[in-house]
């Protein structure tokens, strides 16, 4: 008997699956079921569809007469089905997606392990590269597909039990729109197939279904427009299938962003609670109620900073600004934060590498901009610290920079009655002594104010102004598409802060040269992330550097971690050749694609024009007119912003 069951298991499973699908689809559009039931059913059906497509791919790659074309077709079917559940799967378990399903095709260090273990990447992105190679490795594919089948089946089993609320659906849908705008249309997860625009259509399908299901419950403009706009977005993708010429600016401005707002309007109109009604509410990296993901209110600085906005905030910020420009923080009273972070240069210093203490050479790296620097989860080019407050703690204690310590700074500041008054007024729990945490919090609060998302580009995208030249608009499309800049400099920060969750800052291995000599190029010796954190000292982090923002790039020359390039033309040339690989470096762990981008001179010029439209330091550049007084006349001669 047992044997019988075993032998018939396969057919039974198939029968069960088809009954399941039948039942689920039968329920989908029945008027008796609620929107939530229908959409829950859609998700479960979608999970099953991915599994079915995956096992079809498995059969294809395992077929004795391995057929590349059939394999590619089967793989694209997997992608199509995956994209239709991506919004919810990413929402409910983005860790598992990253670990097993659609993570970047790069090795990682095992999380939270007592030993240093390197995990090789697996999943759709790895397959995307493998399958679209000229001659795919059949044996390797079998293994990789088999593993994905196993992993997906396990995740599916867990996800089928996932309880879904209407709030979850709306949040997942809105995050998916950010994902499409910042990753989908850039080709981020289709390194081999280049199938991203088709993927985006599939990613919009479940959102469209959701919009249709909710339409009867909605009123007014929201009801009229949600489905229409989504349909139009999908049609726009279908009508413009060429990756290189696809107009991303129009797509985001005219379709994705309006839909992003409409989904929010719909949610509120329906009385569905938002994340702010839950215990997790205030901890979001973004403002969920924002209308526009290029809005200056979209990202939430409070999430990233150690400093919470409080009623005392203006006082704390004002105090932090004094400290930022006050050289009393350094051991020789001559250097301030502003020494290397000049507001006129978007808080950089124009030097290749910043000048060191006592003019003894330079520090190791180029001074990065502080504008929007709060939007990161790691600091320094080697990503060694987690908070901006730790970043300047390293500056304070470094012998090459402030060459001092918090106890020394506290002792000095406590001599100043004026500083004591400022601290007392700023901190309601002031203990009578100026201490590390209040100094740190004040500087952190000031840095948190250095945010700016009102550049010409932002205003154009939000429809507030129409000042961008056709060259800049073309530059944006290239940046987000053919030139592949935005697959590392992610919108809307155009830095390595990964959307749509904005919880992780990335670093990349580019192969930056030591000098501009292209005849005898020499790899820059800086080991980058390999020399940062002890627990990240693995070979693939050698020469890896934080992806900094390209916002305000007009003001922040020279460029790269070592300031090797004085002009953006040089930077573009470097990338156009494929980075270090293009210069002839044999850098096994280069994460920048080594292929030439084949950008024409005019395309490179357009990209630069676009980047130059990202300038905004309005309201951020004024220095204090005086600094708090000390009893020492000598100290009172100190210069605002430091002597050098």
């Amino acid at each position: 008997m047992a044997k019988d069951i075993l032998s018939s298991r396969k057919t039974t499973v198939i029968c069960v699956i088809s009954v399941l699908i039948f039942l689920l689809s039968a329920f989908s559009y029945s008027s008796k079921t609620t929107a939530l039931e229908q959409l829950t059913g859609e998700y479960r059906t979608g999970l099953q569809n991915v599994e079915t497509a995956l096992f079809e791919l498995k059969n294809t790659v395992e077929d004795k007469s391995f057929d590349v074309q059939k394999t590619r077709e089967a793989f694209l079917k997997v992608r199509a089905s995956y994209k239709q559940i991506e919004f919810l799967l990413e929402y409910f378990d983005n860790t598992a997606v990253k670990d097993y399903i659609n993570g970047a095709p790069l090795p990682k260090i095992e999380r939270n392990s007592g030993e240093m273990n390197i995990l090789q990447p697996h999943g759709l992105q790895v397959l995307d590269e493998m399958i679209f190679e000229d001659e795919p490795d059949g044996e390797g594919l079998k293994k990789e597909v088999g593993l994905l089948c196993k992993n997906f089946t396990e995740l599916k089993a867990f996800q089928l039990k996932q309880y879904i609320s209407e709030r979850n659906l709306f949040e997942a849908a809105r995050l998916q729109l950010v994902r499409i705008a910042s990753m989908g249309i850039t080709g981020f997860d289709t390194p081999g197939s280049g199938n991203s625009l088709v993927d985006c259509q599939n990613a919009l399908l479940p959102l469209l279904k959701m919009a249709k299901i909710y339409k009867p419950q909605l009123q007014g403009e929201t009801s009229a427009q949600l489905v229409t706009k989504l349909e139009a977005a999908k049609q726009y993708l279908a009508a413009n299938p060429d990756f290189d010429t696809f107009n991303r600016l129009v797509f985001i401005k005219e379709y994705l962003n309006p839909v992003f707002k409409l989904f929010k309007d719909a949610q509120l109109q329906l009385g569905i609670e938002t994340v702010y009604d839950t215990p997790a509410g205030v901890r979001q990296p973004y403002n969920y109620l924002a209308d526009n993901f290029f809005g200056d209110d979209f990202l939430n600085p409070d999430y990233f900073s150690m400093v919470k906005t409080s009623t005392h905030q203006p006082k704390i910020e004002e105090l932090g600004k004094y400290l930022f420009f006050d050289p009393v923080l350094s051991s020789n009273n001559k250097r301030a934060c502003a020494s290397c972070h000049n507001p006129q240069k978007a808080f950089t210093d124009g030097e290749q590498r910043s000048l060191a203490m006592d003019f003894k050479g330079t520090v190791s790296r180029n001074s990065p901009t502080l504008v929007n620097s709060v939007f990161a989860d790691r600091y320094f080019y080697d990503l060694r610290t987690e908070k901006i407050e730790n970043q300047f703690e390293h500056v304070i204690t470094s012998p090459h920079e402030f060459n001092t310590s918090y106890p020394e700074i506290s002792a000095k500041l406590n001599q100043s009655e004026e500083y004591k008054k400022l601290f007392r007024e700023a901190f309601h729990n002031y203990s009578g002594e100026i201490a590390k945490h209040t100094i740190s919090e004040a500087i952190g609060a000031y840095l948190k104010t250095l945010t700016a998302f009102n550049s010409d580009f932002d205003k154009h995208l939000r429809g507030e102004a129409n000042t961008l030249s056709p060259q800049a608009l073309n530059g944006f499309n290239l940046f987000m598409g053919k030139a592949a800049c935005a697959t590392c400099h992610f919108a809307p920060t155009f830095s390595g802060l990964v959307p749509p969750n904005f919880t992780e800052s990335e670093s990349e291995v580019l192969g930056v040269p030591a000098t501009t000599d292209t005849i005898n190029p020499l790899l820059d010796g800086d080991i980058g992330r390999f020399g940062g954190r002890m627990k990240e000292k693995v070979d693939f982090n050698r020469h890896s550097f934080k992806t900094v923002t390209v916002r305000n790039v007009s003001l922040t020359a020279p460029y790269m971690h070592n300031g090797v390039y004085n002009t953006l033309e040089e930077v573009l040339n470097f990338y156009n050749k494929g980075g270090g690989a293009g210069l002839g470096f044999e850098l096994e762990n280069q994460t920048l694609a080594p292929d030439a981008l084949n950008l024409t001179p005019s395309e490179m010029k357009d990209i630069i024009t676009f980047m130059q439209s990202l300038t905004d330091t309005v309201g951020l550049i004024n220095k204090p007119v005086s600094l708090p007084k000390f009893p020492s006349a000598e100290l009172n001669k100190r210069k605002i912003g430091g002597e050098y």
Partner: protein
């Protein structure tokens, strides 16, 4: 065909139960019920004792430098308690705090480290730090434990041993394999951050432990990864325990005989190890063993450096049983058994280790079968599946060893357990335990409780609620389990604390009288106001007042009448049955909507009167004190 039919019916029935979602109005004007439930102020009071990176520690001068002070290191982990037994003392004793980091510091010393300080209980039950002057002349409240001038630097001080008589060992996990792996590189244009242990010159062992250790020259990295005894009273390290072996040490316990030590190694695979001293209290001489799957202990050579240099490899070659990241160890004086956490790991394959001589611990059969209830194979088949990597150990567990029988068993299997049927309208299980790490046993008013700290290996597969998935950062919880419960499950857990997002709760250590619980909150995320954005040592006092509040809820649970009742200990609101609820201010303004919950964390509700509405529109008044 019958089977199919049943399954199909099941699917349909499942859908019928998926209710329309109740819409809670943003402003409510209903006639609210007059039934009031009071959430009293918790009898527990929490207090911050020691803030990493902010409080100063007194340091020992070296290289001709005088004693000094520096801001304490962070990343608090293990917490040891040493009672003050002096006649007539007003003081409770000393606390020893591990710093689980590898950093460079001229005054404190490179690598990780420890801080010790003395505490007193005030008449109102609160704790204060006692000023001390140590024999080496240091005066102050917090003292850096000197490793640099004694036994050599330590790294990643994670857990350790807090013996009943107050002797303290610190453990160095994160197994190092070369000098490059203890130093990031000098701060220079080449880009090193200077982090780690800068002095990588060869180390000459100086020890009284018998064997070939004393006078032996070893590579610097080989002087890491030991259990290291310290004296918190003088804030000095005493000895690296070379005779216990070199490994990714985590926790341990000294048994009441003062001879036997059980030890956890945080490796995957990792062995279960014990040391037995020849003479009570003298841990420099004795034998070292690893546990085998057949319940016996195999002796390991422990007087030769080459043999102890990589303990696990030798243990497995001799047939030691495989565990998956053993962490903290605790002892129950009531049943005489040893408990420890096996934290789990997302992926592994032990086939090669078994081929090299290791055995699979028998508890893997139970672990596999608990996760795969439909599996009908033999225990051996289940164990083989685990060995071959067909079991992803997302959640980990608490294990128990009975010295009387030599048997290892699962005490509490971790995880959220969602029903196996499909589909369900289940919600995120209120009770869940993932990747247990810190462990302690606390006796309150004669009743014994287990304290379990999470240290999540990730968020996937329900280790944290969906709300926390996208916004990053794990929320680790501190759970309590009444050890009088027979065959406990995660449903018996009571939540004591949730640390700030991104933090790990660890270092649980009750005072011997059960009135105070000390614990550490490690590396919290930057999104919390001072001091909760730093590593903290906390004291929670008032435990003697609370145990009775947990009993007698079974009747409410069995009732169908909408009922809310508070757990003042954890500031949680419990519902008689899982349902959707909204909480309104008395003005009618909606402040919270929670779907499918049985327990609601209301720590963020200010004192005042609220209305709780369920998904039938029924209300209860809640008074938060």
């Amino acid at each position: 065909m019958k089977k199919l039919y049943v399954l199909a019916a099941f699917v349909a029935a499942g859908f019928a139960t998926a209710n329309a979602q109740f819409k809670f109005p943003i402003e409510a004007t209903a006639n609210f019920s007059a039934t009031s439930v009071v959430l009293p102020q918790s009898p527990l009071k929490s207090q911050v004792l020691f803030i990493g990176g902010v409080d100063s520690v007194q340091t020992v001068g070296s290289n001709g430098q005088p004693n000094g002070f520096a801001l304490a290191k962070e990343w608090h982990d293990f917490l040891g308690f040493t009672p003050d037994t002096a006649v007539g003392t007003q003081d409770l004793g000393w606390l020893s705090i591990n710093h689980e980091m590898v950093w460079n510091d001229d005054k404190i010393g490179d690598g990780g480290g420890m801080t010790s300080f003395k505490i007193r209980r005030n008449p109102n039950g609160s704790i204060s730090i006692v000023n001390q002057t140590l024999p080496d002349g240091r005066t102050g409240k917090f003292f850096n434990v000197d490793f640099k001038n004694t036994v050599g630097e330590t790294g990643m001080n994670c857990a350790g041993i807090s013996a009943p008589n107050g002797r303290i060992w610190t453990a160095e996990e994160w197994f190092r394999t070369n000098n490059a792996s203890i130093f990031a590189g000098s701060a220079s244009p080449l880009g090193g951050s200077g982090a780690g242990v800068r002095d990588t010159a060869d180390w000459v062992i100086s020890t009284t432990i018998p064997g070939d250790f004393n006078g032996k020259t070893i590579k610097k990295y080989q002087n890491f990864n030991y259990m290291v005894e310290i004296d918190p009273r003088t804030a000095k390290a005493i000895r690296k325990q070379y005779n216990w072996g070199r490994g990714g040490w985590e926790g341990g316990i000294v048994m009441p005989d003062n001879k036997t030590v059980y030890l956890g190694i945080d490796e995957s695979p990792g062995p279960w190890v014990k040391f037995v001293a020849n003479t009570a209290g003298d841990f420099t001489q004795g034998n070292l063993y690893a546990w085998k799957a057949d319940g016996t202990w195999v002796q390991l050579v422990n007087d030769k450096f080459d043999s102890i240099a990589n303990l696990s490899v030798n243990a497995f070659a001799k047939g030691a049983a495989i565990f998956n990241r053993n962490e903290w160890v605790a002892y129950s004086p009531i049943d005489g058994k040893v408990y420890w956490t096996e934290t789990g790991r997302d992926g592994f394959n032990f086939t090669a280790n078994v081929a090299a001589g290791a055995s699979m611990s028998p508890h893997w059969a139970k672990a596999y079968k608990t996760r795969n209830p439909s599996f009908t194979g033999t225990d051996q088949a289940a164990i083989d599946s685990v060995m071959a990597g067909k079991f992803i150990d997302y959640y980990g567990r608490v294990l128990v060893y009975d010295p009387a029988t030599g048997k290892v068993d699962i005490y509490l299997e971790g995880g959220p357990f969602t029903p196996t049927s499909l589909p369900v309208n289940g919600g995120y299980p209120a009770k869940h335990l993932s990747n247990p790490d810190g462990l302690g046993v606390m006796t309150i008013n004669g009743r014994q409780f287990m304290l379990i700290c999470e240290d999540l290996n990730g968020r996937s597969f329900g280790r944290t609620p969906a709300e926390n998935q996208a916004s990053g950062g794990e929320i680790c919880e501190l759970w309590m389990l009444d050890m009088t419960i027979k065959n406990p499950t995660i449903n018996d857990l009571v939540r004591i604390a949730a640390t700030p997002k991104g933090a790990e709760v660890t270092g649980v250590m009750p005072s011997p009288d059960g009135k105070t619980l000390f614990f550490n909150c490690q590396h919290p995320a930057p999104t919390h106001p001072f001091p909760f954005n730093h590593s903290l040592t906390m004291a929670v006092t008032g435990w003697e007042n609370i145990v009775n509040t947990w009993v007698g809820v079974e009747d409410i649970k069995n009732s169908d009448v909408f009922t809310i009742y508070p757990n003042p200990v954890s500031r949680e609101l419990h519902l008689n049955k899982a349902c959707d609820i909204a909480i309104y201010e008395i003005s009618g303004k909606r402040v919270k909507v929670l779907r499918n919950v049985e327990v609601v964390d209301v720590t963020d509700l200010a004192a005042g009167t609220y209305i709780v509405m369920n998904d039938k529109g029924e209300t209860q008044k809640l008074i938060v004190e």
